[in-house]
Amino acid sequence: MNLTSSPANGATIITVNEARIDASVAIQFKDAMRAHAGCGDGDVVLDLGQVTFVDSSGLGAIVGSMKYLDTSRRLHLAALTPDVDKVFRLTRMDSIFEIHDDTRAFLARAAG
């Protein structure tokens, strides 16, 4: 599971360099998220711009990743592609996360 991360304005941006977060990689995704989010502080922004498909196992893994973070740290989602957006909206899990058009929108808001 190819994830990359970088610090930005006190937050950590984690980019998923994969086309799918599905049942076949859900566990690897959670493990990689733990490694990248670490035990630091500050919010985490998950950049899903390259992800075209998430099934319910992938959705569960994203929720699980949020639950792993300290309660003071929020998990933001950025750059949802159409089918990924559909899964979040249909399950109403879009209300659980702060969702941004892209990581620049998050950073602009964080700076403002």
């Binding site: 099934d55 319910s56 569960g60 929720v63 639950k67 249909l90 659980i96």
Partner: protein, 155 residues
């Protein structure tokens, strides 16, 4: 690859009960739908629902029993006509509990962060996106018939 003047209106595929095989099957089905002119939004909705159906087969039907023919543990047939898509998914694993389809209620979200649901969305998504669902069990075969309104899903 055979090129057709008109894309075929039926699709058939089978594979082992593995997450990797489900991925391949979904990719092939989506390609078939897309080449038949199905709008991307409807292709996505069908893929979301069928991913849940096929993952259920892998994770539940074959959780405790082995397929009698591993190479074709699950089969998918689909036919498209007049804006409608009919899909049949078959397996030879454990029948659904009580031989009935789960209700598929959305899990509660008004809970503490540590209690947020990490699963239980599958049947909700399947029911939400399909217009008709029918489960039957005969001679060791589980069969799920699904119907999708492609025009509606494209909106």
């Amino acid at each position: 690859m055979v090129m057709h003047d008109r894309p075929p209106t039926t699709f058939a595929a089978s594979g082992p009960a593995t997450a990797a095989a489900v991925r391949d099957l979904l990719r092939d089905l989506r390609l078939w739908l897309s080449q038949g002119g199905t709008p991307e939004a409807a292709c996505g909705a069908v893929e979301i629902a069928l991913a849940e159906v096929l993952n259920n087969v892998v994770e539940h039907s074959y959780a405790t029993v082995s397929p009698r023919d591993p190479a074709s543990a699950l089969t998918v047939h689909a036919a498209r006509a007049n804006g409608q898509l009919d899909v049949h998914v078959c397996d030879h694993g454990t029948p659904l509990p009580g031989l009935t389809l789960p209700e598929g209620r959305l899990p509660a979200r008004d809970v503490a962060r540590g209690d947020l649901p990490e699963g239980g969305f599958g049947w909700f998504l399947i029911r939400k996106l399909s217009t008709r669902l029918c489960y039957s069990q005969f001679d060791g075969e589980n069969r799920l018939d699904l119907c999708f309104d492609l025009d509606q899903l494209a909106r």
